[in-house]
């Protein structure tokens, strides 16, 4: 009967309005949640006599924008880690005004020896020179400690990232199942889809990700280098920490699905915090460490004592390797030399031995005014010597210009990394901006829809009460 049909259709209208109101309230609740897209109810007219129904609930999405966003997230995340690591390395340099760079301290030592050579009889000038040498050695030792500390932090970062990645992948596995079940059962999968998108974005912070959609909304995840992270099941992510990394010691590799993705493996990832940590731990910090090791070696060579008779081999003088590995004047990076460099104990106790020599005695009669050896030391300091190019610095030069070359290298890396980060971060912000604009919730829009729904509900309710009145009139007539 048409009245009953009208009633049913009005009922379906009420149901649809209520469902749409539910969707509006879901949207409004998620207005500030990142990656929450606004849901749209697809209302269709049902077959004759059944009114309207909601065919499906979809969400606003933009796949190309999303892919771009994921890419930008991981590349910005990697670069941020690198910039932060370099900023920590920069703390060993500081503002040149403070004269705390290795160049400044090595220069102070040379100047103290210069002053000593002008008054070689002055014991306090000798003590000043030894004190300057102590400062220099302390700075070298602490710089090495700092660098290894930064490497250790990166190693810890990798370990934390492995744990986080494992937990994210297991969450992803759960949510993916939910998505697939809802899709197969033709139910509302939009919330689960939003959650899955957020998880992929979180994963992309750690590792460069390539998501692939398959049948039934199933998603597989691969790293940007092609290693499988999730395919039906989550793959294992493992990393074993090496506490107390020593200079020259390699950190262990990061494994995804049994494949090493760092340490120059064939499938090395290029995006995400993990890539950033690996770059700091395996490339940038070790190169800087080699440079300060070369500076230490160059200083030992500068202050070496040569045989005045020209027969014996040169021996370490004011500065020497306390671990016994290095003897001047061999060329080649000695890992950890900056930490084991020390002052000759005889000279430390008796500064006049700096003037007279320890391994070779340049002043056998002990003349107080003898300055020959000190003048020779100064010539040695400012003479050109060869350096190992594997450290990333110059291959020859005076020790002081090598040391300032190292500072230049670090700051240049910093400026380049910082500029690169600015660019990548802007790209990420733009992509995120565009994505949220497209897919996010606009409260004003939802509230306007609400107004509309209110009226629609009112109208349907009015229809029902009118039909009820009609029924009443009909029944009264009977």
């Amino acid at each position: 009967m048409s009245l009953t049909t009208a009633l049913n259709i009005a009922r379906s209208g009420l149901a649809v309005s209520s469902s749409r109101a539910e969707i509006v309230s879901r949207n409004v609740a998620n207005a500030s949640t990142p990656f929450a897209s606004h849901k749209i109810a697809n209302v269709v007219t049902g077959p004759t006599g059944s009114g309207v129904r909601i065919a499906s609930i979809t969400r606003a999405s933009d796949l190309p924008l999303y892919d771009k966003l994921i890419e930008a997230t991981s590349s910005a995340a990697a670069q941020k880690v690198v910039v932060d690591g370099l900023a920590e390395l920069d703390a060993t340099v500081g503002d040149p005004e403070n004269d705390q760079t290795l160049t400044a301290l090595a220069g102070k030592l040379a100047d103290a020896i210069q002053t000593y050579s002008s008054s070689p009889e002055n014991d306090s000038a000798g003590r000043t020179a030894i004190a300057a040498a102590s400062q220099l050695v302390a700075a070298l030792n602490s710089t090495q400690t700092n660098i290894q500390g930064i490497r250790d932090n990166a190693d810890q970062g990798l370990s934390g990232a492995a744990d986080e990645l494992n937990s994210l992948l297991s969450q992803f596995s759960e949510v993916n199942k939910r998505v697939m079940n809802a899709t197969t059962a033709k139910q509302d999968a939009t919330d689960a889809l939003d959650q899955r998108d957020k998880l992929v974005s979180d994963i992309s912070n750690l590792v460069g990700v390539k998501p692939v959609i398959r049948a039934n909304n199933d998603m597989a995840l691969y790293t940007d280098s092609g290693v499988t992270m999730f395919d039906t099941t989550a793959r294992s992510v493992s990393f074993s920490r090496t506490p107390g990394l020593a200079p020259g010691q390699q950190g262990s590799a990061f494994y995804i699905d049994g494949v090493p993705v760092t340490n120059q493996g064939t499938m090395q990832i290029s995006g995400g915090a993990i890539a950033g940590y690996a770059k700091i731990r395996d490339e940038l910090a070790p190169t800087y460490q080699s440079q300060i090791d070369e500076i230490a070696r160059g200083l030992i060579v500068s202050y070496e004592e040569k045989d005045p008779a020209g027969v014996g081999a040169p021996a370490a003088g004011l500065l020497y390797d306390s671990s016994g590995t290095y003897t001047p004047p061999t060329v080649g990076v000695v890992p950890g030399l900056a930490g084991s460099i020390a002052i000759n104990t005889t000279m430390e106790a008796t500064p006049s031995r700096l003037r007279d020599g320890v391994a070779y005695n340049y002043n056998p009669s002990g003349y107080e005014g003898y300055s020959g050896h000190l003048n020779d030391l100064i010539d040695q300091v400012y003479a050109t010597q060869p350096f190992d190019p594997a450290a990333g610095g110059a291959s020859s030069g005076a020790i002081l210009s090598y040391a300032s070359g190292s500072v230049s290298w670090l700051e240049q890396q910093r400026t380049a990394a910082s500029n690169d980060y600015d660019y990548k971060n802007t790209l990420y912000e733009r992509a995120f901006d565009a994505f949220t604009k497209e897919t996010g919730v606009n409260i004003d829009d939802e509230m306007t829809t609400m107004l509309e729904l209110e009226r629609a509900y009112q109208a349907s309710a009015k229809v029902i009460s009118t039909v009820d009145a009609m029924f009443g009139a009909l029944l009264q007539a009977v």
Binding site: A112, R414, T436, G440
Partner: protein, 368 residues
């Protein structure tokens, strides 16, 4: 109909992130206004950081050398003063010798002259002897000194022994002294006596008179110059000419000592007039040569003093230039930084106002 869609969070995010960025820049601008230097020196300079570090180290080096040169100059001035007084005394001595003095008068003059010479050679600056070569903590002329002659006791003993060997009687034998002929005395003075002062390799000089080293003090006065900054009471044996041929010209102090000791240690009051005249003649020749040689030493030191002055002014100019470069690289224009800070603050205010206004733009205000 499809219209451009903007989410609410999109609206707010844009302002929020721009406010954060402006605040970061504002902190840097404030720091630069106050200190006048780049907020993050490494980021601002990049690879030039190495250049500025090197410049600072070089400036420090020049300062250290300039300061050391002050100490060296003091030593040189002291040495010059001593040399001047020795030259003056020498000239006065020559004048006295050629003025035909009486024996007792000239003996007194010689004795005082010898004492003055040893005093001058033993002058110090601080606790360092100026004429000791590199053996600067030991007096160049060693005591004990004999008061009656003004020379070291060991020297007096050697001279008297040589006299005895040559003439056959001691210096105290006044009777026989009168019989010494002028030629005999001349032969003694020019051979055995002279040998006690200017022998090859300074064997007698270092035994009786001086503990100084022939090696003189070499000082670095600039980044690439080392000069001799002292003269020694001990002459350099390597500069001795072939002894059989020429007379040495670099043993000024030793010859001065020879000239004074000649009169003060030998029994000149008891010599006959011819011999006495001969002694005076030889003494005046030696004293004349010695004074000239000592005077030459002054020009050696004067040369070093001039080089130090030149080096100091060169280094001062270099430091000036380097400081200018450092300032250029490291400092920022504080006015520009202050202007920038002002602009950023205005931007920040605008952003805050906009944020407040946009927040008020909601349809909820109009739905009852």
């Amino acid at each position: 109909m499809k219209t451009t869609f903007v989410s609410s969070s999109g609206l707010y995010e844009a302002l929020r992130s721009s406010v954060l960025k402006i605040q970061t820049k504002l902190v840097d601008a404030q720091k630069e206004t106050v200190t006048g230097r780049h907020a993050d020196m490494g980021l601002a300079l990049g690879y030039q950081m190495g250049t500025t570090v090197t410049l600072r180290q070089q400036t420090a080096r020049l300062t250290a050398i300039t300061d050391a040169n002050a100490a060296v100059s003091t030593r040189l001035s002291g040495s010059q003063a001593a040399l001047t007084s020795m030259t003056e005394d020498g000239n006065n001595y020559v004048k006295s010798l050629i003025s035909s003095p009486s024996p007792s008068v000239i003996k007194a003059i010689a004795r005082n002259g010898a004492a003055a010479l040893t005093n001058s050679l033993n002058s110090t600056t601080g606790s360092q002897y100026l004429f000791a070569g590199v053996n600067t903590d030991v007096a160049p002329i060693k005591g004990p000194f004999d008061a009656s002659t003004g020379v070291p006791s060991a020297a007096k003993t050697s001279i008297e022994a040589a006299f005895q060997t040559h003439f056959g009687f001691p210096v105290t034998d006044t009777a026989q002294a009168a019989n010494i002929t002028a030629d005999d005395m001349n032969s003694f003075l020019t051979n055995e006596y002279r040998n006690l002062f200017i022998d090859h390799n300074n064997v007698n000089w270092s035994a009786d008179w001086s503990d100084a080293t022939a090696e003189t003090v070499q000082s670095r006065i600039s980044t690439n110059e080392t000069v001799q900054t002292s003269v020694s009471a001990m002459s350099d044996p390597n500069a001795d000419p072939d002894p059989s041929v020429a007379e040495p010209t670099h043993k000024g102090f030793q010859r001065m000592a020879e000239a004074y000791a000649m009169i003060s240690t030998l029994p000149v009051e008891y010599l006959n007039s011819n011999t006495f005249a001969k002694v005076l003649q030889v003494a005046s020749e030696v004293a004349g040569k010695a004074t000239a040689q000592v005077s030459n030493l002054q020009s050696t030191l004067g040369n070093s003093q001039e080089r130090i002055t030149n080096a100091n002014s060169r280094m001062a100019i270099q430091q000036d230039i380097m400081n200018k470069s450092i300032t250029n690289m490291e400092t920022v224009n504080q006015f520009e930084a202050a202007t920038r800070a002002n602009e950023l603050m205005n931007q920040l205010n605008t952003a805050y106002a906009l944020t407040a206004k946009i927040q008020n733009l909601s349809i909820l205000n109009y739905i009852s």
